[in-house]
């Protein structure tokens, strides 16, 4: 865990030259994937590879189907044509959509407890404590989640990602309506994850607000 006050070093990404397709490090291979809504293809067929320890950014303006694509890769929706092949177990995927998935009536800690139990990873009080401090959610533990602001709810979901990290994260516009501190948090989280050999697929409609080397995949509307 990076000490909070150290300025974030510009993380030098693993060299992303022409991706050598070696099955060992390739987590996901997508070939000619396209999604249909109401009988019409949303974007031109898409092919890319997700390497271990790298980030793929799916760039498209709103309404072209980047959320549908992300949900399809996460197995939450069904693609129309083409196929994609995960080389990692389905239990290693983590998905963060627009709705973080918090139960409003339950307190923050309860939500975390049930999440981590559902993710089948242990409850490490020290890590949770450190995480709460790092994501400055201290003092809100017993508050019902409904009382938290959208930014705080997003940070709880990010804390969950840190506490039960899977091999691959699928984040839908992680930097959307976050303040400066929030953006730094997300960047640090992604950086640590990549350093530990995880990988991330994220969607965004503009330029990323932080210098992360990404394999940029553009969705071309049909």
């Amino acid at each position: 865990m990076l000490a909070p006050d150290v300025h974030l070093p510009a993380v030098s990404p693993p060299a992303i030259s022409a991706p050598a397709i070696s099955p060992l490090t390739c987590l996901l291979s997508v070939t000619e994937l396209s999604i249909e809504r109401g009988g019409f293809a949303l974007f031109r067929p898409l092919s890319f590879q997700l390497q271990c320890g790298s980030v793929v950014m799916i760039a498209a303006d709103n309404g072209v189907g980047k959320t549908s694509l992300l949900r399809t890769l996460a197995g939450l929706a069904s693609a129309a044509e083409g196929e994609f092949q995960w080389h990692v177990a389905a239990r290693e995927l983590r998905f963060l959509g627009h709705q973080p998935g918090l139960k409003g009536a339950l307190s923050l800690l309860d939500n975390l407890r049930f999440w981590l139990a559902q993710d089948q990873c242990g409850w490490d009080a020290a890590a949770v404590e450190a995480g709460l401090r790092r994501f400055n959610l201290r003092g809100h533990e017993e508050q019902p989640a409904a009382a938290l602001s959208a930014g705080q709810r997003r940070r709880v979901a990010l804390l969950r990602l840190q506490l039960s990290p899977g091999q691959c994260w699928l984040l839908d516009e992680p930097f959307a309506n976050l303040d400066q501190h929030g953006i730094a948090l997300v960047q640090e989280l992604i950086a640590t994850r990549l350093a530990q050999g995880g990988s991330v697929i994220l969607t965004s409609h503009g330029q990323l607000p932080v210098p992360i080397a990404v394999l940029r995949v553009a969705l071309v509307a049909v």
Partner: protein, 248 residues
């Protein structure tokens, strides 16, 4: 080329569209004479039943429809397996194409059952075990059709309807048994509407001919509706445009 690869290739939409064209035409050609012959046998040739008199002739229409209402449901359940496991577009089209015809046969069974009940029992509707389970089956058909159409994404609708169809097919024998058990509990064994009393041979022929007629009818309507559901779901692809003579 193994049987399975042949079957799989037959299942591909364009090939399915082609070879079923002949089936549909032949089914219609065979259906009309069979129907006319069956009606002739049922209405004119077969003698009146010694117990119920002339109104027993309604049986020649009621029973084939009742058998068809069940057969169609099981055919849909078989297609539902194809929809859920292999996600075949042809299975989705075949399942959804069969539902309206199944509902129609169930409605015919109910209406003719009521018209048969009036002279024999004096009331149109009797909570007889068979009629009750036909009524429940009718609502199961409506449930499948309504669920399939409720989804904006047609393929997701077909899959949801497939799950409902499979759950329904597991419950169907239990529903039929529970209704019959309920009737025996209530009034002892009532005279069964479909009298299993010895059916005289001359009564059997019209029944079999009309049953064959309903099977041919079902094949014709089912396959032709399925063909065009496939065309609709593949309306973007080249083979559809080529078949319709719209190829650029």
């Amino acid at each position: 080329m193994g049987f399975w690869t042949w079957l799989n290739r037959q299942g591909s939409p364009p090939r399915f569209f082609d070879w079923t064209k002949h089936w549909v035409r032949w089914c219609w050609y065979l259906f009309f004479p069979t129907l006319l012959f069956g009606l002739y046998l049922a209405l004119l040739v077969s003698p009146a039943d010694y117990l119920q008199g002339e109104s027993a002739r309604i049986m020649h229409v009621h029973v084939p429809s009742a058998w068809m209402s069940l057969t169609v449901y099981f055919i849909m359940a078989v297609q539902a397996v194809g929809v859920l496991i292999w996600r075949l577009k042809v299975c989705e089209a075949l399942m959804l194409a069969a539902a309206p015809t199944g509902a129609m046969f169930t409605a015919v069974t109910l209406l003719t059952g009521m018209l048969w009940g009036r002279p024999t029992w004096g009331t149109y509707w009797v909570w007889d075990a068979r009629l009750t389970s036909e009524l429940v089956l009718f609502f199961m058909y409506l449930g499948i059709v309504a669920l399939a159409q409720a989804y904006s994404d047609r393929r997701a609708g077909a899959r949801a309807a497939a799950v409902l169809c499979l759950v329904g097919v597991v419950q169907l024998p239990i529903i039929r048994y529970s209704v019959e058990w309920w009737n025996t509990l209530h009034q002892g064994s009532t005279i069964r509407l479909l009298g299993e009393s010895s059916i005289h041979a001359s009564m059997l022929w019209p029944l079999l001919v009309l049953t064959l007629a309903t099977k041919l009818y079902f094949l014709a309507v089912w396959l032709s509706r399925a063909r065009w559901l496939i065309v609709h779901s593949e309306r973007q692809s080249a083979w559809v445009l080529q078949r319709l003579g719209l190829a650029p």
